[in-house]
Amino acid sequence: MALSGIQIYKLLPQTNCKECGYPTCLAFAMKLAAKQVELSLCPYVSETSKSTLAESAAPPIRLVTLKSESSEVKAGNEVVMYRHEKTFYNKPGLFVKFSDALSPDELQKQIADADRYSTNYVGIDLSLDGFAVEAASGQTGVFGAAVKAVRSATKKPLILVGKDPAVLAAGLAALPGESVLLHGADSENWQAMAELATGTKASLSVSAGNLEELAELTEKIQAAGVEDLVLNPESDSLGNWLTMTTQIRRLALKKNFKPLGYPQIAFPHTPQAAAQAVDKYAGFIVLDKFSPGLVYPLLVLRQNIYTDPQKPIQVQPGVYEINGPKPESPVLVTTNFSITYFSVANEVEGSGMPAWLVVCDAEGMSVLTAWAAGKFDSERIAKSIKTFNLADKVSLKRVVIPGAVAVLSGELEGELPDWEIRVGPREAVDIPKFMKMAL
């Protein structure tokens, strides 16, 4: 738990010696609480205070980073149980698992395919974060060759999956200098796994079927010298798994319970389980196979759940020119909520027809929500048309409003007497048809 400035002050020498550069110990304590200075600036702080402060400064859920030449994936450092309390910070890394039962050539081909995968959601490019390689063969030579093949097909971070430390060591040897995740340790092999991870940059996952066993294992492994751990609470039922993931998160956040203060990993076998993993606290998610029909919706769900609830995602209000509009091209109106904007803009763009898209400042709300809140009414629409000087841009004074706010058309005629008001479709997906038929 983070300490307040006053709590920190009590741990300082309280001599106001000014050697830290601050006029008083209290001022220094306040800076420490705001994490703006380092404790090492104080030459006189006691060892006891140092360790107390270090402990309190550590995040309740340790940040674990997997890193390769090209990219990194972070998990941990979360601070809340429910996203509305603040926000969820580190989006769970999405991995796909491949087995060394495939030949190196086949692995290379399949991974290259998945590695290239990229999709776009509301203007953001999304892709897989990395891959897991499973040592199904149980043979060092086979696994080492498989990891090499995988590494030649992708530069993304890797997770090595297997129970035999000797076999995983062969994979690890093929990835010098990288921060990989070894999956992993359990009550049988934890000592050898801890030995393998010690002295490397690898982090280690720890599997157990209940929290007591999990906590005992992490304490032992930590004592053996491995700091970067990842928890795998194993269960074959969504209910039991939800209970464990929730309790782990709560123990870490509410009780600062260090043995379980690590990010979690999930291996969902169904779309339902994958959704629960995103919603309920997984830091790394490993899918059984690569299928865009699941990966795309999961990437979108992750984006949604990890959106900061305090900041609705917005686009800049203004006039957006789509497909090179001319003076006779139609004028369409929508709000500046980014999901709304991208749904509309993508459809207009896809229609191939030129248009002026007027994005009103509706405080980042969607059409219906903004309308209900009084942020998207005829006055605001008329004001946008006027401030953005649409009359100077177009020869055909005809404006199309969203079908969901058809009720505004009468009032808008009053506000914009020179303009023809048309009511468009309710859903963005119907815009191209509407533009072809009605405009």
Partner: protein, 320 residues
């Protein structure tokens, strides 16, 4: 190592609401459905009782919809031509209840009337023994006319009537009260608006064990996070003892998911979206599962495969 699990102590609970009445109780349903009663956040059985499982309703229409994704008629086949057959198919697909939405006009364009609405509802009740939720076409005047007629013609069945919204709820609530039915109140993804409408409805004298709250949701990719957090906050408020939030929650992930471009069409979409059917069913399933995790008691779905998957998830979540 023994671990002391922190347990939240909640003073409040969600109300229990029973939908449908059997012959002995003045209705004709073969079974009824009770939802609500939770004394903990979703599926945290270690913290408090979750006495009733969330249920799955299947959305049917009084006629074959012409603007639905082609994947849905592919799944339901000829049953979609007739609401009674569709209800039976939904029951066979694992529905716990049926949600019938009436249309403004029939396939020939003839406007809906009180008589035609009653005939449709009665045909569904006759064909299928599950409890029934009936939504009007969504235009205040028409809703009021047809729902009053339906409520009177099915007195005692404990149907859920909807949709009550702040602009139009009085007539629907009054007829539900007079005829022994329930109401569904919808507000746009906001804790305070949901609470306000509940107050208005209960102030009319509606018994609180006959009220269901529909906080609305967006589909995956289209604002689900707003509905998700509104539901979590509503459920937390209910557990903290805020009486006017202590209602079971109904949401319509089927309706929301299947109107998205991702589910509706396969022409001119990026290759990265993957196989159409897989993506669409996942769109509905992921939307529904997320809402289940945030507190939904009644999930209204459209595709039989989603029904199967969501039911399987509920089985596992209740087993703990």
């Amino acid at each position: 190592m023994p671990i002391e699990i922190p347990v939240e102590k909640w003073p409040g609970a969600v109300r229990e609401v029973t939908i449908g009445a059997t012959a002995a109780e003045g209705g004709s349903r073969h079974q009824k459905v009770t939802v609500g009663g939770e004394k903990a956040m979703p599926f945290l059985h270690f913290e408090g009782a979750i006495p009733h499982r969330p249920v799955v309703a299947v959305e049917i229409r009084d006629r074959r919809p012409d603007d639905w994704s082609p994947l849905l008629p592919q799944a339901w086949g000829a049953a979609m031509d007739n609401p009674a057959a569709w209800a039976k198919a939904a029951e066979a697909a694992g529905a716990d209840l049926i949600q019938l939405t009436l249309s403004l006009a029939d396939a020939e364009g003839k406007p809906i009337t009180a008589e035609s609405a009653v005939a449709t509802v009665k045909s569904v009740l006759a064909a299928c023994g599950l409890p029934l939720i009936v939504f009007g076409p969504g235009q205040a005047e028409v809703d009021n006319t047809v729902l009053v007629a339906v409520a009177e013609a099915t007195k005692g069945e404990r149907l859920v009537l909807g949709i009550c919204e702040d602009k139009n709820y009085r007539t629907i609530v009054a007829t539900a009260m007079a005829n022994g039915h329930l109401v569904n109140s919808r507000t746009p993804m906001d804790v305070n608006l949901a609470k306000q409408l509940s107050i208005l409805v209960s102030d009319m004298g509606m018994p609180t064990d006959r009220m269901i709250m529909d906080p609305t949701t967006g589909a995956l990719g289209y604002g689900i996070e707003y509905g998700y957090s509104a539901m979590e906050r509503l459920r937390l408020a209910a557990l903290q003892g805020d009486s006017m939030t202590q209602f079971p929650m109904l949401v319509t992930p089927g309706f929301e998911a299947w109107k998205t471009k991702e589910a509706k069409v396969n022409e001119g979409v990026p290759e990265s979206w993957g196989d159409w059917e897989e993506r669409s069913v996942n769109w509905e399933t992921l939307t529904a599962i997320s809402l289940l995790e945030s507190g939904a008691d009644i999930l209204v779905l459209r595709h039989p495969e989603s029904v199967k998957r969501v039911r399987a998830a509920i089985d596992e979540l209740m087993a703990a």
